[in-house]
Each structure stands twice: as structure tokens, then as C-alpha cells.
């Protein structure tokens, strides 16, 4: 396997959790809800995903456990932010703080254990094509799932009536409510979808990225996923570009460390975080004319009867 092939493969692997989590958050935010608890949902998804896979011996069961964990976490958020009309920023932070504790508690028994990571696809003939074959037809299932998910979300948001209604809730919940759409219920579904995606993204880390679980293994990826939705101006297509770009930055620093260039590893490790800040600044600056964010993003909605 050539170096370029290896780099592209590792970029795809590093980008997949970002893409999964950011896609879920994009749908949530498009419905008008800002869920800052992505990191918390991811880390619990990682612990439950690994636990499920380790106990059952099945990667698919593990992935499902991660998704269910993410949904359960998102339901706590929904109860607070939608049901009780609590400030979404504070609730999201609470979800992350709780998630970090919970994952430590759940994952304590699994630290040091190893599983067989998700297998890479192998299609005889196609996968054997030099370079392109391995990259296009030789990934683990999560990579294809993440791409299918983005395409599906794009189709849903822009090509279906339900997607139109969801976007309407995010842009003007008062009008959507006046038209008779159940704003809170639609937002609940969107939040749950975001939770499932974040849980799956977290589960990807111990199931496919590394074959073991360590506390805090999400290392801020949930926050980077949040920044990616801003980067993407809340559009699925740009999300793909953004996620792969960030995956590339992550891998760049790993390879630079491996190549033994004279820069301390900690400075290279801080690159994805610094890149996030720079990207946020550049994008926000470019958008002085008017924000592309859903107009009702982060505002509470209490229906009057």
C-alpha cells in the first residue's frame, strides 16, 4: 500500500466520526434547536458502543448500542430544552458534563479490553484496482453509511415536504405553529436524530478507529462537529467538504509527527483546534452581510394554546 493511499484511507477514517456527528447536528439545528451536547452524546455513545460490541462480539450490536445511548441522551436534552423551555446553551453544556461522567462510569469496566475492529469491505476485482479500488471499495461500513446519511439528509431537507416543514420550524417557529405544524414534536424528532448520529459517531471511535476504549477518547470531536455545521453554512454538501478537510488536518499532524519533523508533537496536536478557530473567524467574517443560520436557532418556543 502506497503512502498516498494510506493517507487518504486514514483521512477518511478520521473524517467519518466528524461527518456523522455533524450531519445529525445539522438536522437538529435546521429545526431550530442548538444542541451543544454533541460531545457528551458522542462520548456516551463511545462507551456504550464499545460495551455493546465487547459483550456481544458484534460490531453492529455495538453501533446500535451507541445510537440508542445517543438517543437517550438527546431525550434528556429534549425534555429540558423543548419540554421545559430551558436555555439551550446551558442545557447542552449540562449534557456534555453529564456525558463525560457517565461514559467514565459505564466505560470503567471496559478499559484495557480490546475488540476486533469493524472489518474493511473487500469486493474481489473492484477492491483490487490499484489506488482507487482500495479507497472506493475497501472502507469499513461506517464510511459508506456516513456518506449515505449525508446524501439522505440532503434529499430529505430539500426534496421532501417533511424536510421543508422541518426547515420552516427552524426559520420561523411562530409561523410554522400558526400553520398548524407541531413545532415541538418536529424538533423532538430532529433532536433524537441528532442524538442517534452523535451516538453512532462516538461508537465509531472504539469500533473502527481504534479497537479499544479510553475515557475522553472523543477529545473535542463533538465540538469540532458543531463548528463544522457553521463551516458548512448548514448545508449538507459543504459539510462533506468540511469534514474531510478537518480529517485531513488531523491526519496531517499525525503523519508529521511520524515523519519526525522538529516540531513538538503537542503543537501539531493542537492544529485541529486552532484550525477550527481560524475557520470560524474567517467564515463569520465573510458573512457580515447576514447570517445563513436558521433564523430561530437556539430560541425557545412555548406554544400558546
Amino acid at each position: 500500500m502506497g503512502l498516498i493511499e494510506a493517507i487518504i484511507l486514514s483521512v477518511l477514517a478520521a473524517s467519518t466520526p466528524l461527518l456523522l456527528a455533524a450531519t445529525g447536528e445539522l438536522v437538529t439545528e435546521r429545526s431550530g434547536v442548538l444542541n451543544l451536547g454533541v460531545e457528551g452524546m458522542m462520548i456516551v455513545g463511545a462507551a456504550c458502543g464499545f460495551g455493546g460490541a465487547w459483550l456481544s462480539g458484534s460490531i453492529i450490536v455495538g453501533a446500535l448500542c451507541g445510537m440508542v445511548a445517543g438517543i437517550l441522551m438527546s431525550l434528556i436534552f429534549a425534555l429540558m430544552a423543548l419540554g421545559l423551555a430551558v436555555n439551550q446553551v446551558a442545557t447542552g453544556l449540562a449534557l456534555t458534563i453529564l456525558g463525560i461522567g457517565l461514559s467514565g462510569l459505564i466505560g470503567a469496566g471496559f478499559v484495557g479490553e480490546r475488540i476486533t475492529p469493524a472489518p474493511h469491505l473487500h469486493i474481489p476485482g473492484l477492491s483490487d484496482i490499484p489506488l482507487a479500488g482500495r479507497i472506493l471499495f475497501g472502507e469499513d461500513g461506517f464510511v459508506y453509511l456516513s456518506i449515505a446519511l449525508v446524501v439522505g439528509v440532503w434529499w430529505f431537507l430539500y426534496r421532501t415536504r417533511a424536510g421543508l416543514i422541518l426547515r420552516a420550524c427552524g426559520d420561523n417557529h411562530v409561523s410554522a405553529h400558526a400553520l398548524g405544524y407541531p413545532v415541538l414534536r418536529i424538533r423532538l424528532y430532529a433532536v433524537m436524530f441528532g442524538g442517534a448520529c452523535a451516538g453512532l459517531a462516538g461508537a465509531y471511535l472504539p469500533l473502527a478507529y481504534t479497537p479499544f476504549f479510553i475515557p475522553g477518547m472523543t477529545a473535542g470531536r463533538g465540538w469540532i462537529a458543531l463548528a463544522l455545521t457553521v463551516f458548512a453554512s448548514w448545508r449538507p454538501a459543504r459539510l462533506v467538504v468540511g469534514a474531510y478537510l478537518f480529517g485531513a488536518v488531523t491526519i496531517l499532524q499525525l503523519h508529521a509527527q511520524g515523519a519526525g519533523i522538529g516540531i513538538p508533537s503537542q503543537f501539531m496536536s493542537s492544529l485541529p483546534y486552532l484550525a477550527t478557530i481560524i475557520v470560524l473567524v474567517l467564515l463569520s467574517r465573510a458573512r457580515t452581510g447576514g447570517s445563513t443560520a436558521p433564523a430561530a436557532l437556539g430560541t425557545v418556543f412555548v406554544p400558546d394554546r
Partner: protein, 363 residues
Amino acid sequence: MQLVLEKRAERSATIALISPLIAIGLTIATLCIVFAVLGKNPIAALAVYFIDPLTDGYSLQEIAVKATPLVMIAIGLSLCYLANAWNIGAEGQFLIGAVAGSWLAVKTQGTDAGHWVLPGMLVLGAAAGALYALIPAICKVRFGASEILTSLMLVYVADLLLDYLVRGPWRDPQGFNFPTTAEFDPVATVPTLIEGGRLHLGSIIALLVVAAGAVLLGRTIKGFEIRVVGAAPRAARFGGFNANQLVLLTFAISGALAGLAGIIEVAGPVGHLQPGISPGYGFTAIIVAFLGRLNPIGILIAGLFLALTFIGGEQAQIAMKIPLDVTKVFQGILLFYVLACDSLILYRFRLISSSPKVQSGAH
């Protein structure tokens, strides 16, 4: 049946006062369930958690020591949150303050420098924290970048910088390759208040910060501006208050306090710079700020309470083998209940039947 929220005509002052207590009660009830799930006797565990630390002098001092950074950081955060500026990166500002102050301690190590070293370290720590907090604040007011995300990203950067310094240039040559600086000289150490005890000068500084916060918010025009900008942005614009300037100011103050807390922590209880100097003080302080109702006196009480959960958690780990992460779960649940109870201040909960009866007769 369906639960609906009804907006109250006015904020309920009674509920505003008792809601933190309701939240604590609900959290403790939930904690009992967690203990039972872990197979521990809930009553015995609660005693170890919340009662035992209050019964001996050493633990009481330890609570004050843990509460010191929490209260200092939370006072600063409360100013930000009152002004509707979301500083989430206090943890990073804490670490940067610790690093900047430690620089002086490391540079003057063994040089017989005078008693100016510790004050110099405190000033450096506060200044570095303020400057670090100004990065997300400036990104917000100049470019409109989300201060939530940028301040959080800087936490990871600060963590990595500290890691680099103690593994690289500042590592103690006699430290058996552990990632730590040498123990600070006595002139670079925060003095203790009780001979042989753990209580240190930082706790007094924290009390002064509480007093200063109360004066700023209650007795000055700036404090009034901060509260108006947060509570009624439109009214504040009409009043000619500069919201951007207040974002910069509140971020700078909260960064300075977090940085000061950071250098006090390494120059006091820890005694040297090393990774893991904070068990998440910057994040726990967010809970302290909310539990204390963004009010200085409330924050002092809330800070002592959350310090108790740290100490109780450590004792429960030793005495009952309860995992340390229960403390974090506890803190997370507490924040949820605090926020949920806040909802009671603005809304009234009411159960209605979900399928409204068909109105009979003509209207």
C-alpha cells in the same frame, strides 16, 4: 394528559430563592438511585459523600481549598453569563494562568529572589488569563465567531501547551522523568493560613473576589449595564450601552479570575506545574455559577457545596469503592435540575387533557 408551560406574569421571587434547594434535593434523590444501581447502600453512601467530610478539620480545610478556585472562576463566569456572553473556556484560562505564573517561578528557581516573586506570579497569571479570554471575545465582537466554540477550542490548546512545557523545557531534571516542574521555592508559594494545614491565602483572595463581585453588580453603573445588556438587549441599546464593550470587559474579568485561580492552585495546594492540575474546575464552575443564581453570595455557597462533592467523591472512592466518575455524573445531574427548576421561575406547569373535549353547542 399533557404538560404545558404557562408564562407567569412576573418572575416568581419565592421560587427563585428555593429552586436551588429543590434542585439539590432532586439530585440527591437521583444519586440514591445511582448508588443502588451500583449495588451500594444509598444511605451509607450519602453519609460518606455529604456528612463525613463535614466532621473533621482536615476535610473542612480541604473543602475550602477546593472551593477557592471554583468560587473565583464562577464569579467571573457569572458576569459573562449575566451579560449574555458565553465563556465556556474558563478551564483553558485557568491552565494558561497557571502556566504564565509558573514561568516566573521556574525562572527564579534557586536564585534567592525576593518576596516580589509570588505577587509577580499572581499578576502574570491573571494577565495571561485575561488575554487568553480576550481571544474568543475579540473573535466574537470583531468577526461574529461563536465565543462558545472558540473559547472551548482554546481549552485543548492550553492543555497541550502545558503538557509540552512540563515534558520539555520546564521539566524537573531531578524529577525521574515525570512530567512536572521542580517544587516551587518558598517565595514562589502561596502561604498557608494554619500551621501545618492546607488552608491557604487563596481562600482569603476568593472571599475578596466575592465581595468585589457583589459591589460591582450591586453598587456600580457597570454592574447595572452588564445586567441590562443580558436581560433586555433592546433596552440596553436604547440606553446607549455598548454590548460589545461589555463582552470584552466581562470576558477579560472572568479570564483574569480564572487565570488567578490557576496560578494560586499551582503555587498553593499543588506546589509545582504538572498535567492534571485541574479536576475540571473550569467546567464545574459553570455549575457553581448557575447553582448560585449568578449572584456572588449564592456562588460562594454553591462553590462550597460543589467542593463538598469533590471531597465526598474522593472519600466514597476510598471507603466504598464508588467510582470517582460518580462525582461528575452528580455534577451534571445537578446542573440539569438547577436549569429545570429555573424554568419554574418563569413558567407555571399545568397538566391538561391531551384531547380537548369537543365543545358542544354553538359559540
